[in-house]
Amino acid sequence: MSGVDPNARINLSKANVLLVDGSQHSLDMLVQIMKGFGAAEVHRAQGVIETERLLKSKSFDLIVIDPNLADGDGYALVRELRHSTNGSPNAFIPVILVSGHARASDVAKARDTGANYFVAKPITPNVLLQRIMFVSRDKRPFVEVGAYVGPDRRFKFEGPPVGSDGRRNNDLKSPLGTADEPNMSQNEIDMMIKPQRVML
């Protein structure tokens, strides 16, 4: 059960969750997982139109969506949800995108939707629980910049979730271990921050 403390408690007994997937069977699997996690209400949708109808009529606490829907673009659906700031109760709720094989063009679309996290299929209960816990504790602020509305896409302060290797080559792996060089002196640090003009 790497990445999740087996004794950590989660309480979804009041949570209203919306699950969206174009495949009936993938949806059945997500429903079983979320019910296992104890979600109070699980709503399901297989297409964009059905999802939009549910988003207009109900207030949710979490959306898990595979954006590859047969009747429209699920990426655009999430993007529009983030822009629906005129009193929509669902505009800023946590959204986890789940996707199977992704075309190169889908990766850029996924990044710009404003979803909180991206999970690659095949889905396992372990990974989904980790991501739900990560998303719920995510301290990144939301930003509105240009056409983008959603969580700050930079993991500068929070780092990748525990148990994940991160997405960048330079993501630090924990534990960091001991330093292999002596610490810099305060003088050296000062010189780096405030370089002095040198007369030659």
Binding site: M1, V4, D5, P6, N7, A8, R9, I10, N11, L12, S13, K14, A15, G22, S23, Q24, H25, S26, D28, M29, Q32, I33, M34, K35, G36, F37, G38, D61, L62, N68, A70, F92, I93, P94, G100, H101, R103, A104, K121, P122, I123, T124, P125, N126, L128, L129, I132, M133, V135, S136, R137, P141, F142, V143, E144, V145, G146, D152
Partner: protein
């Protein structure tokens, strides 16, 4: 040129909810989720077999949108077989998705598609269910064929 950035912090309703007293431990939650998945295993794998049959039917017809339909079906097989631990079948389906995505908007090479579908069918044969080495051999054989198809022409 300056860009206006608005930062704000939405209400952390989900976090408050998760942290409420009561609920279940992560171990209990995972155990119940796995039991739930197991309860629909046969039904889902039956559907996977139907999807493979549909892929086979589509692989031999000339139909508009055939590539997109096959991509969608193969993507479902990838996700659903993988979730139930059929990793070799999932890998073959992923390979077919990659092939179809590379030929998006054009006709995918019929022979390469057929090899993938045959590999999927072989992996679902009951005699291979308990034979990891045979399943790996099917996967290895497919990888060789894919390399041949993706090699640059003379």
């Amino acid at each position: 040129m300056s860009v206006v950035v608005r930062k704000f912090e939405p209400d952390a309703k989900l976090k408050k909810m998760l942290d409420q007293p009561g609920g279940v431990t992560a171990e209990q939650a995972l155990s119940r989720a796995k039991q739930g998945l197991e309860s629909i295993r046969e039904n889902c794998l039956g559907a996977t077999d139907e999807k493979i049959a549909s892929l086979q039917a589509l692989s031999s017809v000339n139909e508009t949108g055939r590539g997109e339909k096959m991509y969608r079906l193969s993507n479902e097989v990838f996700a659903e077989a993988g979730a139930f631990g059929l990793s070799e079948l999932s890998a073959v389906a992923h390979s077919l998705c990659t092939l179809l995505a590379a030929h998006e908007g054009s006709q995918p090479p019929r022979a390469a598609v057929a090899v993938h579908v045959e590999a999927m069918r072989a992996l679902r044969r009951p005699e291979l269910a308990g034979d990891k080495a045979a399943r790996m051999a099917v996967l290895q054989g497919l990888r060789g064929v894919v390399q041949k198809f993706s090699a640059p022409g003379p």
